[in-house]
């Protein structure tokens, strides 16, 4: 049973296992350092419920749930 980034509650952390989904988006996330083993923390959810903000490698990134669903964590 693999968990994805969307199931992580704000304030909680996990490690990236893999990034899938549409090639361009996956590529961009990996370029930004979301690769196997990278610690990632969900900071908050936008007021309207989407997108979400994560903290990774010392910077803040926002991505939509649709993209976060393809980030598998463990």
């Amino acid at each position: 049973m693999s968990r994805t980034l969307v199931s992580i509650q704000p304030g909680e952390s996990a490690r990236v296992a893999s990034v899938g989904g549409e090639a361009g988006a996956a590529r961009r996330l990996m370029d930004l350092g979301l690769i196997r083993g990278t610690p990632i923390r969900v900071v908050r959810v936008a007021p309207l419920g989407d997108p979400i903000e994560v903290s990774v490698r010392g910077f803040m990134l926002s991505l939509r749930r649709a993209e976060a669903e393809h980030v598998v964590v463990d």
Partner: protein, 726 residues
């Protein structure tokens, strides 16, 4: 494709009296790095105010160039490449950066030296693009910028160790204070003489074996071996597009490499990022030292409020309300001043020139026409200031974060919100602000609909028609019908903008849904100098673009309204003379000729003339109505004489020409119609310029006109059917 390092050998023996410096052609430097590293600030520190801004041919990526002089008098040209996180070419910005660095851009040779701007407070992510660029076979200098911000965050980067690790020169800089700039210039001079940087990590054996054949194909196609190695790794994750498209056998080899890797237990798509970040981890380990506690940062604390579930949107709305309130209140006195100035210049020219056509051309044509553009400059500049401020502080990305869910409803990105909102003041800054939208299709869709937001040039038209024809009766006790009508016009434009954007995104500008992966940069206090530089550059751009076209068009319109001359019967008032003159002119006759076209909307030829004359700028409608109704061209939207004239106007049969229904239909026409040459000019530039831009602008003009006509028709005919005749 080989990087030909200009050997000084070629110069020996030539013209012995000239020093080598004069013989070497100008040195070309390119700046590149992640967004928000301080690249533009560094560029300004290097080149001073001497910069030129254009576009890369065919795309709307901004091309910023400047130069500085060396001590020996020769020039160094500096190109500020768009900010990029990688060379993966998943966005137009990255594609441009890569093609320029490879020397494949149409009108740009490859740079002689690449200055990689790196943010010391975020070395890890910044090193990704560095590791790619080190493999391009170009001389590189690293500008380790923001060492002050890093120190404040408890981070020290050992620049000597970094230089050792990367085998290139590393210069510490604080671009905002100009620190390290001289050292950087010296490093740039030395760079070409040093050995070229190359990949400083080894690929795991299976990966090495897998990419070998891909590299071979690329070398065969003319790539530098080192560049080929970079491109081969990149190709594991992407299809050969852009400059790699059409290389025979490339995709086949890449596919074989991917299969081989998957069989060896690798994730082919992730492997480049994994090997690069693996190497980066070692470099960071050796060079980055943290001291002090990493408590919650200032940005965290600010975001806890500004992105709060409840307060976030409230603050956002409040901020937008303040912005708009100040645009209108601050701009008001400035606009009056501009108006006075234009009037003064007109009077001056009027008294200096003899009575006659030349005077009329200069005063009524050129000065009045250019005045109609300049009058909006205060609003535009104030809006540019706000947008620039929001960008520089880092709030712009937060606004997109808050509004993204809402904008996604019509297939757009959160970043489209502020440009559309700006459209309420003026479409020009709104359209220019779409540059922050990364995806070209989202950008185009936004550009297409921004002019539907009711801008301030429509206010005079609304004011005249509402004030004259809509009775100020109370509705539901507290509302006023006049106010409600005005609100309805704003609502209509906004709703149409959202709906049309949605339609475009589903049809013409359809594409795979675009990711919204966006950095939320740390908050910063904006640098006043660079803010003013940005604003003046954008305002100048607008004046040049719109000014020249308006200038030409107003002369044409003036001529159409002036010729042929009508013999005016003596002893009539000035106003009546103007009226007769206009009726007999080409413009007046054109109005009569188009009457059959506007008749179905309930308009007569006089309204037709006013519409034609307001093609350049909407607010001209009011002045033309003033002329046509003989109250003089200086009538404004609150002129009592003009209002009385309109109410009293009857046709041959004695029925009133204007009814509230016609007034509403006319307003609806102005809600949708694209009657603004300044906007057209800006759209041409922002959709790619040249012929391509002209096509987009013409398309926009046409669909907006069709929409305006149909909507006005529906309102008028529908109103008649519902019995709103009188």
């Amino acid at each position: 494709m080989e990087n030909s390092s200009t050997g000084s050998l070629a110069t020996t023996g030539l013209a012995p009296e000239a020093g080598p410096a004069q013989l070497t052609s100008q040195l070309r430097v390119a700046l590149i790095g992640n967004p928000n590293t301080g690249k533009s600030t560094l560029f300004n520190a290097l080149t001073g105010m001497r910069q030129r801004v254009g576009n890369y041919s065919g795309v709307t990526v901004e091309r910023v160039e400047g130069r500085y002089r060396r001590s020996n008098g020769t020039a160094v040209s500096v190109l500020d490449l768009p900010g990029t996180y990688s060379l993966s070419a998943t966005s137009p910005d990255e594609e441009i950066a890569l093609t320029v660095l490879l020397g494949l851009a149409p009108d740009l040779p490859a740079p002689d030296v690449v200055v990689l701007v790196v943010d010391a407070s975020n070395l890890e992510r910044n090193l990704f693009v560095v590791s790619q660029i080190l493999e391009l076979g170009l001389p590189v200098v690293i500008a380790l910028n923001q060492v002050d911000t890093a120190a404040a965050a408890g981070i020290r980067v050992d620049s000597v160790e970094l230089a050792m690790q990367l085998q290139v020169q590393v210069v510490e800089t604080v671009a905002t204070k100009g620190q390290g700039i001289d050292v950087l210039k010296r490093a740039i001079e030395r760079a070409s003489a040093l050995p070229l940087p190359e990949r400083s990590f080894e690929l795991p054996a299976p990966l090495f074996r897998a990419v070998q054949p891909v590299e071979a194909v690329l070398v065969q196609a003319g790539f530098h071996p080192s560049t080929a190695a970079m491109e081969a790794l990149r190709l594991l994750a992407i299809a050969p597009e852009g400059h790699l498209a059409g290389i025979p056998g490339l995709e086949g080899e890449a596919e074989r490499a991917r299969t081989a890797l998957e069989e060896a237990g690798y994730n082919a798509r992730a492997v480049e990022a994994e090997v690069r970040y693996g190497w980066i981890a070692e470099v960071v380990e050796a060079t980055v030292h943290r001291f002090g506690s990493a408590g919650s940062s200032r940005t965290d604390r600010i975001d806890a409020v500004l992105l709060h579930r409840v307060f976030g949107p409230l603050i956002f709305l409040l901020l937008m309300a303040i912005v708009f309130q100040s645009i209108f209140t601050w701009a008001e006195p400035l606009m009056t001043a501009v108006e006075g100035l234009v009037g003064g210049v007109g009077n001056l020219a009027g008294s200096a020139l003899p009575e006659g056509d030349l005077r009329s051309l200069v005063v009524d044509g050129v000065i009045a026409g250019v005045g109609s553009v300049v009058i909006f400059l205060p609003q535009i500049v104030i809006l540019f200031l706000f947008i620039g401020f929001l960008e520089a502080t880092g709030y712009m990305a937060r606004a997109a974060f808050i509004m993204d869910r809402f904008m996604r409803g019509v297939g757009l990105h959160g970043r489209s919100f502020i440009p559309m909102l700006s459209g309420y003041a003026c479409a020009v800054p709104g359209i220019m602000a779409t540059r922050t939208i990364e995806n070209p299709k989202d950008r185009l869709a936004t550009i297409m609909v921004v002019p539907l937001m009711s801008c301030s040039a429509r206010i005079p038209v609304y004011t005249l028609l509402i004030g004259t024809f809509i009775p100020p009766i109370a509705v539901a006790g507290i509302f006023n019908l006049q106010g409600l009508t005005l609100l309805a016009m704003y609502f209509l434009g906004t709703a149409a903008a959202l709906v049309v954007a949605g339609i475009f995104k589903k049809t013409l500008l359809k594409g795979p849904s675009q990711p919204m992966i966006m950095e939320l940069p740390p908050y910063r206090l904006p640098n006043l100098r660079s803010l003013l530089l940005t604003v003046s550059h954008r305002a100048g751009l607008f004046l040049r673009r719109a000014g020249t076209i308006i200038f030409a068009l107003t002369i044409v319109l003036w001529a159409l309204a002036t010729y042929p001359k009508t013999e005016v019967v003596a002893d009539v008032t000035d106003g009546a003379a103007q009226e007769q003159q206009l009726a007999g002119s080409i413009l007046g006759r054109a109005g009569q000729a188009v009457e059959p076209i506007v008749r179905p909307l309930g308009y007569d030829w006089k309204i037709g003339v006013s519409i034609i004359s307001s093609f350049a700028a909407r607010e001209v409608f009011v002045a033309t109505m003033g002329t046509i109704y003989g109250v003089g061209s200086d009538a404004d939207e609150t002129s009592v004489a003009l209002r009385e004239q309109l109410l009293a106007e009857t046709d041959a049969a004695g029925t009133p020409v204007y009814t509230p229904l016609i007034a509403v239909s006319l307003m609806v026409f102005y809600v949708f119609a694209m009657m603004c040459v300044s906007t057209n000019a800006v759209v041409v530039r922002e959709t790619g310029g040249g012929w391509k831009g002209v096509k987009w602008a013409a398309f926009q003009f046409l669909w907006m006109f069709v929409l305006a006509y149909s909507a006005a028709f529906v309102v008028y005919r529908g109103g008649l059917l519902l019995g709103f005749a009188a």
